[in-house]
């Protein structure tokens, strides 16, 4: 390995910064507010749920399909670590208006449509809407709502904000009046220059943060620090710091590793790199498995989907992670890598017990392979939560079924999240279905089998009784949907 680099270098609005004195737990929000006095970005919750701290982060993205391009994504600055910012462009609300005070169309529309009352959520909402404005000049109400899933407003009831978003989309000033558009090419070149080809190591006191330049570097770092905390999107690890004040030592930031960002599509299926965000995976997953796309739209808010990774959702082993149940029923496998080589195992076997996964010291999740759905197989994933969007599941059911020519169940896989200590298959349900005619009677019998598969807990998200009843009903929903009945509420026909 070459000589390690010793600073995090990025562009903040118009200024290039190089930070060599950064703690692994330093957040972007504290950096902006305390060190730069950019106080337009607010702290509302410090856990990535309210969006008051939303900023845009530009990065060079190359998912293997579209070539390299500069994309700007909304993120929660409160749980974004400074250590994860190398070779990015951070854009805050202060950069949006022109130097003479003229507001950007997004800001002006928020004023004209009375989109602010107390104003505290407003800079974050402006930044989320600006992210939409950059990529969509005719957004539907569904698209606007999706953009705002990660932004809470307690005053307005959102209606004027949605109207403002619609109006702003029509306002297209010359490129020179938009701060991102006018600098896009220059920033692309600057970011290329800021990329490190070497592992970045920064020590602050007893703490250490490490940013490997590539997967080989990551394997080497983990070999040296087998118990290091691997940080991908930080949508979970961020809260360890802001809420539990846990140390991360060393923290290894992997979000910039290009090899882990790849999505490979073949006839056999999809290979998704462990660093691929939900947003980046959305197109490929929803093309291959439409029900998966609908589910991703209900994971976190836009900011969390822009940061959070499917690899992280698997690696942290949460019993209520939303992607493992559908991945299990699709037959996904996970590839782990270390300095000593690679191994691949079925995803289902990766989850051993609550909080315990089959990842050995020095290993990292490299990719997830999701096989193509056999022709004729039906697949669905249903999330149930107290609030429709940006909520953690009370339970999540994933179902897959293949029927033979006599309409009997030839193959089936059923898995749930929120029903046990790990994402877990419902093997008794599967046994009750297999070989049986695909009928309401069969489904009723299989519903009863759920009680031998799970003994769900009662907590603030749901009671045990509700979880069990709703789980049974989700199986019925899966059946009824296969008969063509309308069984799901849909706020909008299409999200475009």
């Amino acid at each position: 390995m070459a000589q390690a680099s010793d600073s995090i270098r990025f562009i903040l609005n118009d200024t290039e910064v190089a930070l060599s004195d950064v703690a692994p737990t330093a957040t972007l929000l504290d950096y902006l507010r305390l060190e730069r006095r950019l106080t337009g970005t607010k702290e509302g919750c410090a856990e990535g749920d309210c969006g008051a701290c939303t900023v845009l982060v530009g990065r060079l993205s190359n998912d293997g399909e579209n070539g390299e391009r500069l994309v700007y994504e909304s993120v929660n600055a409160c749980i974004r670590f400074v250590g994860s910012l190398n070779a990015t462009h951070v854009v805050t609300v202060e950069r949006l208006a022109a130097k003479d005070g003229t507001l950007h169309p997004v800001q002006q529309a928020m004023v004209d449509f009375h989109g602010s009352q107390c104003g505290f959520c407003t800079p974050g909402i402006v930044m989320s809407l600006y992210g939409l404005w950059l990529t969509n000049d005719n957004p539907s109400r569904a698209a606007i709502e999706k953009t705002l899933q990660g932004n809470l407003c307690r005053c307005t009831g959102y209606e004027p904000i949605v109207r403002a978003a619609e109006a702003a989309a029509r306002e297209r000033p010359l490129a020179i009046f938009d701060p991102i558009t006018r600098t896009r090419e220059a920033v692309t070149e600057r970011l290329k220059a800021l990329r490190s080809t070497e592992t970045i190591v920064i020590r602050k006191g007893a703490d250490c943060l490490i940013v490997p330049a590539d997967a080989t570097g990551l394997a080497t770092v983990l070999d040296e620090h087998p118990t290091a905390t691997i940080v991908a999107g930080a949508t979970d690890v961020g809260l360890w710091v802001t809420k539990q004040m846990r140390p991360l030592n060393p923290a290894v930031f992997i979000n910039g590793i290009a090899e882990l960002q790849r999505i490979d599509r073949t006839d056999a299926g999809l290979t998704i790199g462990a660093g691929v965000s939900y947003t980046a995976a959305f197109d490929a997953l929803s093309a291959a498995y439409p029900a998966f796309g609908q589910l991703i739209d209900r994971i976190g808010g836009e900011q969390v989907r822009n940061m959070g990774t499917i690899g992280g959702n698997i690696a942290n082993g949460s019993p209520i992670g939303d992607s493992p149940p559908p991945l299990i029923v699709l037959g996904a496998s996970v590839t782990l890598r270390s300095k000593n080589g690679m191994r691949t195992l079925p995803l289902e076997e990766f989850f051993i017990a609550y909080g315990k996964q089959d990842r050995k010291p020095g290993e990292f999740v490299e990719s997830i392979f999701v096989p193509a759905l056999p022709k004729g197989d039906r697949f669905a994933a249903y999330k149930v939560s107290k609030r429709r969007d940006e909520d953690i599941s009370a339970l999540l059911g994933a179902f897959r079924i293949g029927l033979d020519e006599d309409n009997r169940v030839r193959t089936t896989l059923v898995a749930f999240g929120g029903m046990a200590a790990t994402p877990k298959r419902a093997k008794a349900v599967e046994a009750a279905l297999i070989g049986q005619p695909w009928s309401e009677e069969t489904v009723r019998a299989a519903q009863a089998a759920l009680e031998s598969d799970y003994q769900p807990i009662t907590d603030w998200r749901a009671t045990s009784a509700y979880r069990m009843l709703a789980a049974k009903n989700l199986l019925m929903r899966f059946f009824l949907e296969s008969t063509g009945e309308t069984v799901q509420l849909q706020r909008f026909e299409d999200v475009a």
């Binding site: 928020m110 709502e145 005053c155 307005t156 959102y158 809420k243």
Partner: protein
């Protein structure tokens, strides 16, 4: 003299009754509106964090804070004994609310110490290092448990009665009893609590506090420090939301910051983390309402007897007036010929509940609408027909007396409901929904129209006063200050409009300045929807005083009479001469006319005798109604709000844009209270929904898919309020009771509407599904 301006301009920018954007809108979107945490900190500012206890009820045997103090960067640790004069910040003056727990923990999360450190991060880390030894005591968390265990109260209950309720219940042709559980609510102001205390000379202390009640912060800080009120100045330019959560709950942060600042002679800032804020500050009261109603076969109510038990938490705070207001709104819009209502403000080992938009009124009203709904289902009638039969009658109808013996003299509910029923096409849509439900297996729909009538005034009559301070400087620019606080509701904008209108000058000549106890003393909380009624009138009074002097001056100088002096667009017209306002002011200054005035207002007519339960506590009523249509999924209990139509009364609107914003925003916030916002305590008495990850307020995608909101433009306040407007802060919060009842109807469809589903709140998907299951079993 510049003639170009006065020849062209005949009207001013920003008078009363016009749509005007929020005065800070530009700063909000640019990120340049400063909240307290955004202000430059004085050199050497220290930061505080609360040390929270983790028992619901316990004796503190030992508190070992050595590890807290030992963390590098910690400057000092405060406990109850460090309060210089008093450890008491009870806003009810019942001495039941310590700044820091003193020997006894009364709720999980109650602060027992505070850490002051060089950085906020160090303070937070240090606060977790305490070793506290407890002796556990039995705890009561739930309303029902508190009732069962003897029902200790935090304050005096209230009884309202008229006629012979129990006798008429016996005699009524039909009678039914029921119970409704109504959930509480976290305010979730986006800006959490914060206080910055800056010590001055002698005993002086300046406090910046995110508070709706600067005068109370002033009094509490003075009391805890043991200094007179004149030593303490409290400032607030704006809050990032309040909703009642910053009426009393900022006291502890301000007091602790001030105590530390006094002790250390350095500025001290307290900004609790969101989770600490949600655990350590009060919320909306949850209620358990037991009702007994007698009625006839038409659905006309003969008598109501009901009890309103509330989870008040460990101390009284504002629970007395909150539970009182629940009783004041237990009639909703309905005449109860015989009535007896009792409150039961119960003590529990939970955080002390407090003010929240509506202040108990929503809980009283939602139970009243449940009673109507019950009668509707019992008789197989549309609840709207039951409502109509029971609405208060016109003045003098004999059906116009409330349970507190106030006569309703401004009743417009019949017209509001009538117009909305037609414009929302309620009847046809209801028929179509009943039809839809017959053939839809999984998805069911519901629709409901519910009314709002909300009494305006503080029920504590003394609070219905306000002051304002207005200066005109020599250049004709105007400085405005008043006792109200800005929390997003647009109060500053409205009061500035009133001044612009009074002087007939463009609103940008009026400088709105931060609320401060140093300019306007002895203010009431900006609460009870009263902000613009009270402060608007006080500012109007200040302007009137200055104008009177200016008119007298002009009459003398121009040798004319007062009636020939008028204020017209940016000018003063004296006889036939138009003098630009700044020129006129300069002349008045030169003539030694006082260009400053302190305005004052007290609400007329009102009085209230709590002991007898009789009086006229409200100056007037605000009205409104909403029709909501919903869909539910009977497999999971999930739902969508498909369409909402609102017609709401704000009298003659001071600013229709701001008022519409209050209505839309109030609706969605009230809908959250009734649907997805659930406070959940575990068996140890720990609140487990203490962050936005677990406590779910509405998102953009939860708001009504179609949302038609109109003002009742024909309405004018019958009383002489500022511009004949009406208060708007709280009343719209109760419009989404229609959402709850529509959900209920969708549930009821599974049993062919034979049974009232008796949905408790919040009506989470779980409650909906469980109600569906219950009704399917009938």
């Amino acid at each position: 003299m510049d003639k170009s301006t006065f020849e062209e301009q005949t009207t001013i920018a920003g008078p009363m009754h016009t749509r005007l954007r929020h005065d800070s809108a530009h700063k909000h979107v640019a990120g340049t509106a400063d909240y307290i945490d955004d202000m430059p900190e004085p050199a050497g500012t220290l930061h505080g964090a609360l040390g929270l206890t983790d028992r619901a009820h316990a004796e503190i045997l030992d508190m070992d804070l050595s590890a807290v103090a030992a963390l590098p960067g910690v400057v000092c640790v405060l406990t109850a004994s460090d309060m210089p004069h008093s450890n008491d910040i009870s806003p009810s003056h019942l001495h039941d609310e310590p700044v820091l727990a003193d020997g006894r923990v009364q709720f999980h999360g109650q602060p027992a110490f505070a850490v002051i450190a060089e950085t906020r991060d160090i303070a937070r880390r240090a606060a977790r290092r305490a070793k506290i030894t407890y002796r556990d005591l039995p705890h009561l968390i739930d309303v029902a448990d508190a009732m069962a265990q003897g029902g200790e109260l935090v304050t005096q209950p209230l009884t309202l009665q008229r006629g012979d309720a129990d006798g008429e219940l016996e005699r009524a042709p039909r009678r039914l009893k029921g119970q409704m559980r109504i959930g509480g609510q976290e305010h979730f102001y986006l800006e959490g609590h914060i206080a910055l205390a800056i010590p001055g000379e002698d005993d002086e202390m300046t406090v910046w506090s995110s508070t709706q009640h600067p005068s109370e912060i002033q009094h509490m800080v003075a009391h805890v420090l043991g200094v007179p009120s004149n030593a303490v100045t409290v400032n607030v330019r704006r809050m990032g939301g309040g909703f009642g959560g910053k009426e009393t709950q900022g006291n502890q942060f301000a007091a602790l910051a001030a105590v530390a600042a006094r002790k250390l002679r350095r500025a001290v800032k307290f900004r609790p983390d969101r989770d600490d804020d949600m655990m350590a500050t009060g919320k909306r009261h949850d209620f358990l309402v037991d009702y007994d109603v007698g009625f006839d076969d038409d659905g006309r109510i003969h008598a109501v007897h009901a009890n309103y038990a509330a989870r008040c938490g460990y101390s009284s705070d504002l629970s007395g007036p909150v539970t009182d207001r629940a009783l004041f709104h237990a009639d909703s819009s309905y005449f109860y010929p015989h009535v007896k209502l009792t409150s039961q403000p119960l003590k529990t080992n939970t955080v002390s509940n407090t003010a929240y938009r509506g202040f108990g009124g929503p809980q009283g009203m939602v139970a009243a609408e449940r009673i109507i709904e019950e009668i509707g289902y019992a008789l197989g009638k549309d609840p709207l027909d039951i409502r109509r039969l029971n609405f208060y009658g016109e003045k003098g109808s004999g059906r116009d007396i409330t349970p507190y013996h106030q006569k309703i003299e401004d009743n417009i509910i019949h017209r509001i409901v009538g117009e909305l029923e037609v414009s929302a096409d309620y009847r046809a849509r209801r028929a179509a929904i009943i039809d839809f439900n017959k053939s839809s297996r999984v998805i069911r729909k519901g629709i409901a129209l519910t009314p709002v009538k909300f009494g305006i005034s503080f029920t504590m009559t003394a609070f219905n006063q306000a002051g304002a301070l207005v200066h005109i400087y020599q250049d004709g620019s105007v400085h405005l200050n008043h006792g109200g606080t800005e929390m997003g509701q647009g109060l500053y904008t409205k009061v500035a409009q009133i001044l612009a209108d009074s002087f007939q000058i463009d609103i940008d000549r009026v400088k709105i300045t931060a609320t401060t106890t140093g300019k306007v003393p002895n203010t009431s909380a900006t609460a009870a929807s009263s902000g613009s009624d009270l402060n608007g009138m006080a500012a109007f009074d200040a302007a009137r005083q200055i104008k009177d002097r200016l008119v007298a001056f002009a009459a003398e100088r121009w040798q004319t009479t007062a009636e020939h002096v008028t204020f017209v667009a940016n000018h003063v017209k004296i006889g036939e001469e138009l003098v630009p306002f700044p020129d006129f002011i300069r002349q008045a200054y030169t003539a030694r006319i006082q260009l400053s005035a302190a305005g004052f207002y007290r609400t007329p007519k009102i009085h209230w005798d709590r002991a007898t339960g009789r009086g006229t506590p409200f100056y007037y009523f605000a009205y409104g109604a909403a029709v909501s249509e919903v869909s539910i999924d009977t497999l999971t209990g999930e739902y969508l709000v498909d369409r909402v139509d609102v017609l709401h009364d704000v009298g003659r609107s001071l600013n229709p844009a701001i008022d519409l914003g209050q209505i839309e925003g109030g609706f969605v916030q009230g809908m959250g209270w009734l649907t997805t916002e659930e406070l959940w305590w575990d068996e140890k008495g720990r609140l487990r929904t203490h962050a936005p990850s677990t406590y779910k307020i509405p998102l953009a995608s939860d708001r009504p898919k179609i949302f038609n909101v109109r003002l009742a433009e024909w309405s004018e306040n019958a009383e002489k309020t500022i511009g004949r407007s009406k208060a708007v802060g709280e009343p719209p919060f109760m419009l989404p009771i229609s959402v709850l009842e529509a959900l209920s109807m969708a549930v009821a469809s599974v049993a062919d509407y034979r049974e009232c589903p008796r949905l408790d709140t919040p009506a989470t998907p779980e409650r909906i599904l469980m109600a569906v299951e219950r009704l399917r079993g009938i």
